[in-house]
């Protein structure tokens, strides 16, 4: 894999993470526990969809075959999506959603901070914009995580369950593959080991403040970054892509 191919793969993978998470959040519209949270969820999902559009548009330009954002979103098969497994997991209850967001955004914020300094100007620009959004999301979602952890016995138990279930998907965020390595070496990309150490410190502090028990080191699931997904993704993609697939070539 050369550096151009790695850049393209890296950028479209960033788009996949943003889109798949945004799509999961969109599923929750009109089902949130408070009206204020409806607004927050829609706002955050819009940010992710916006980020996906920027990354896909750039990926299309890098590829140079005339593909645009919608070709990436709607006309690729499941195994061409390279998002991490954590974010394709079903929404579950409110605690599951919040825990997923806290775990992912604690990582994503550090990643974006590093990407702001990378050598590819366009990626750096998108990252600079996304970083502001994610910093705000994480602040909001962390507040909820603390309330659920240190709220009632029921909420504590539920969110501990969320954390225990989702923890196995966190390892994949830091497992550098060839694309990450080339991007780091050729574009001054993020050092995932360093991000892992920082993430662990930050997340440990949040878990501790939420009076929750940190899950121990154990087996970590992986495969999303290579296109080997859980069964959940296929349904999500099928639903998302159905109009584009049924009416091939139509514009909307």
């Amino acid at each position: 894999m050369n550096r151009e191919q790695a850049l393209l793969a890296y950028v479209s993978r960033l788009g996949d993470n943003a889109l798949i998470l945004g799509q999961r959040m969109v599923e929750l519209v009109a089902a949130y526990p408070e009206l204020e949270e409806e607004l927050a969820n829609a706002n955050f999902a819009l940010d992710f969809i916006g980020q996906a559009r920027m990354f896909y548009t750039y990926a299309g330009e890098l590829e140079g075959k005339g593909r645009g954002e919608d070709d990436f979103a709607f006309l690729r098969d499941e195994n061409e999506f390279r998002n991490i497994l954590l974010i394709e997991q079903p929404n579950g209850h409110f605690g599951d959603s919040i825990t997923k967001l806290v775990l992912f955004e604690s990582f994503y914020l550090l990643l974006l901070e590093a990407l702001k300094r990378c050598a590819d100007q366009r990626v750096a620009e998108i990252a600079a914009r996304a970083e502001k959004e994610i910093r705000y999301h994480l602040r909001h979602n962390t507040q909820w995580f603390l309330r659920l952890g240190d709220g009632t016995d029921e909420s504590h138990e539920r969110v501990q369950g969320s954390l225990d279930n989702l923890w196995q998907y966190t390892g994949e965020m830091f497992a550098a593959d060839e694309i990450d390595q080339i991007f780091a070496a050729s574009f001054n990309g993020p050092d995932l080991d360093a991000i892992h150490d920082q993430w662990m410190m930050n997340v440990t502090a949040i878990i501790c403040e939420a009076t929750l028990a940190q899950p121990g080191d154990g087996w970590m699931a992986s495969g999303g970054k290579q296109g080997h997904h859980s069964e959940h993704l296929g349904y999500m993609i099928a639903e998302m892509q159905y109009l584009q697939r049924t009416h091939a070539g139509a514009t909307w």
Binding site: A30, L35, N43, F94, R147, M236, L243, Q244, W252
Partner: protein
Amino acid sequence: MYTQGLDQKGQSDKRDGLESAADRKAFQKRVDAEEKIEAKDWMPEAYRRTLIRQISQHAHSEIIGMQPEGNWLTRAPSLKRKAILLAKIQDEAGHGLYLYSAAETLGVSRDQMVGDLLSGKAKYSSIFNYPTLTWADIGAIGWLVDGAAIMNQIPLCRCSYGPYARAMVRICKEESFHQRQGFDILVELCKGTPEQKAMAQDALNRWWWPSLMMFGPSDAESKHSAQSMAWKIKRFSNDELRQKFIDVTVPQAEFLGLKVPDDECILDKQTGHYRHGEIDWQEFIEVLKGNGPCNKQRMEKRRNAHEDGRWVREAARAYAEKRAAKAA
């Protein structure tokens, strides 16, 4: 979105009898002079009740209205359309929020209003009890439903009750944006494939009559119109607004190359207005009574969301209490 002409039978209240004729007269004088009535001003109890009912119905309509549109969020056909639809639904949640706040200035809590919605005591606009079956329905809702809502809401910006009037100014701006976005969806479909155009026509066929019903019963049937007009909560009659909507909308359908599903809908050259066929008020009454295609589904989803969120709200309260106890 908006509250339809749900001119329900007024409930009298024993407090009504305690109001002096002089107070009422002074109040009416202020209204007639186009002064804005503010939250702390004296107002007749019946005025307060009418406003609470109308504003809370309007708020509930915004909240329930998120569901038929949300039905197409995961299937929106492009990322741009998905983002636009999501932003629109977010606006509706925001409208719900300001409207609940406007109603709270009249001395009712949001919890009470939400409780009334969940128990079925309070109504919301019946239009949201119709299903969104294709992507074109999202266009039709923006164009027709938001279009009808705007006809009703523009005069509400001049409503005598200040907090409601001011909330409506912002809401109207956003609604008119939504309407253009809905129309734009249909423009794209109508210049697309034959299947896309058929989808647009089918949506118009299903949404036309329910949109006309949004203005409420004919003036002759409308029990509360006269009082609401005198209080300047309402400025135009249901029929006047309905006619205005038809006159504006039929040429837009023609521009799209679509036909409204009413053979009697022709331009009367003498009056300059489009005529329309008879509205099936029996259908309206049935949907209002709970027998529309989606009444049960909409309420069930709202109740489930509320119930599923109970432990979350309790956690937030418990957390706040623990913090307060530590600080004390």
